[in-house]
């Protein structure tokens, strides 16, 4: 397969349920090996999009390609595997039986013992699913998804309902697994998760992509950065005249500049003034998230997606 084939290619994807448009003309290309977070509030269309990607839902219009195949073919060939949010496990089976039963469906599944180990559930292999905690069930789903050694792993809000420790254990298992070259796409509404585990964040609102870029880029899009320096007698007018500067504030000897392009501000301060103790901080992702997913700011930003 030529390396130019993207792992995921969504083109003009739309899903309507009666009068409701859950996904609205969404296009997205994910290259092999990327770890992408699909971030958005509840009801933004994340799960509907993933369902179409997995062949569980049919698009009203638009197309889905997974490594050049249809979702159904990609699933049948074990190229794509998924960890769904909830359900999907038989309570009366043990952890090992569930994995074995799934393994028997693939012509070349990874060994059961191996995926149990990689998901960190070897010690509960003999436990009934009904007796497993939410986090353990989620790691069981992850073990099942590892069986075909998929090229693309899809996780739909995998840590919903887990406590902090469960969440950490789950992501530890995912990271430990991070096979070179495996593409990962996960939906989440936990900002920290997107921030901590993704190379790229796709922000979705009302069925559309409102921002797409690295974590840093997405933060910048909404919030810009704060440049802070010690500069007695700062020239507020010339600072405010720099490109991308939103506000300038002077507190005693300290100057605070809020700017979309913090590099430009820093360069100016260091090269053309006697500023020292320079600090650049970004507003946290939470602010960016709120700015992008609520109100009109998001609509203005649509043109600036990559």
């Amino acid at each position: 397969m030529p390396t130019t084939t993207p792992a995921v290619e969504l083109t003009g994807l739309t899903k309507r349920y009666g009068a409701v448009t859950a996904v609205d003309g969404l296009s997205l290309r994910i290259e092999a090996g990327e770890v992408v977070a699909f971030l958005g509030p509840n009801g933004a269309g994340k799960t509907t999009t993933l369902d179409m990607l997995l062949g569980l839902a049919r698009p009203s219009t638009g197309s889905v390609r997974v490594y050049g195949d249809t979702p159904t073919d990609a699933v049948a060939l074990g190229r794509i595997a998924a960890v769904m949010q909830s359900g999907g496990l038989l309570k009366d089976m043990t952890v090992a039986e569930t994995v074995r039963m799934t393994a028997n469906l693939y012509p070349h599944a990874r060994p059961v013992a191996e995926v149990l180990d990689r998901a960190g559930i070897t010690d509960i292999a003999g436990r009934r699913v009904a007796k497993c905690s939410g986090g353990q069930q989620q790691r069981l789903r992850f073990a099942m998804a590892l069986l075909p050694d998929p090229d693309l792993m899809v996780l739909d809000e995998p840590t919903t309902g887990m406590d902090v420790e469960g969440r950490r254990d789950f992501w530890t298992a995912i990271r430990r697994d991070a096979r070179a070259g495996r593409t990962v796409l996960f939906a989440t509404h936990y900002l920290e998760e997107a921030d901590a585990y993704a190379d790229r964040i796709v922000l979705i609102r009302q069925g559309r992509i409102v921002a797409d870029g690295t974590t840093a880029e997405v933060k910048n899009l909404a919030a810009g950065r704060l440049v802070r320096a010690t500069l007695p007698g700062a020239d507020q007018v010339s600072l405010a005249g720099l490109p991308g500067v939103e506000s300038v504030e002077v507190r005693g000897d300290t100057v605070l500049v809020q700017a979309a392009d913090s590099d430009e501000v820093a360069r100016y301060l260091l090269n053309h003034t006697s500023a020292r103790d320079l600090e650049i901080t970004s507003r946290n992702l939470e602010d960016a998230f709120l700015a992008l997913t609520t109100g009109t700011a998001a609509d203005e930003l649509q043109g600036s997606t990559r």
């Binding site: 060939l77 769904m84 999907g88 496990l89 038989l90 039963m101 998804a145």
Partner: protein, 258 residues
Amino acid sequence: MTTTVMPRQRPAMGGFNVPNLLLEIRRVLRNRRTLFFILVMPAVFFLLFGLPNKGQSLDNGAPVTGYIMISLAVYGAMVATTSGGGMVAVERAQGWSRQLRLTPLRPAAYVATKVLTAMTLGLLAVLVEFVVGAVCGVSMPAHVWLLSGLAAWLGSLVFAAFGLFVGYLAPAENVMQFLGPILAILAMFGGLFVPLEVLPEVMQQIARFTPVYGVGELARSPLTGTGATAGAVANVVLWTVAFGFGAARLFRRDTQRV
């Protein structure tokens, strides 16, 4: 990339495989509730209602205990195959069917596994009832044991289809709790608990069109010597087709649901 990548393949036979069939059967066999209704209850019924008739004969000289044993074997088999087919209701309710759509398993292979599991359970139900009967002294010619057993078992395919039909109709975890009483009423109309002749005439006429009647008549015919009547055969065939068709339609709706 230096790693050698195995070309990706689809599974043979749509993912149907014997290890999973055995796993399914083991799952059912460790469900105490199912075992009670399939294996224990029909056997206890025989001890309670069959044994007291020991020594009595039908008009053709065949033992009444044999008549009752065969009827209860049919009952055990129909409960077994219904619950086997009805497993899809539980698995749909728990989201397992959806999970399976993320694997290479073809829906037809899934249904085939369920039907074979149901029929294995049905065979087990017939065998247990017959063993209990034999131990309690039921004496019949070898061909009657064989033909009645085969008819009771194969006829229970009607109810594997019935179980699937209900399973695709209602995704409920407790499907057998409401199917149990329905099966008991159908068994009554099929003459499995009391001979149809003791029912009022109008009930007897209605009974001929209910789905247990045919399999009951066919299973007992080697013993009673009435032979396989056209009505009984037609009953079994038509109900199997009806439930099978209904299950297939609902199944198609389920697998196409997006």
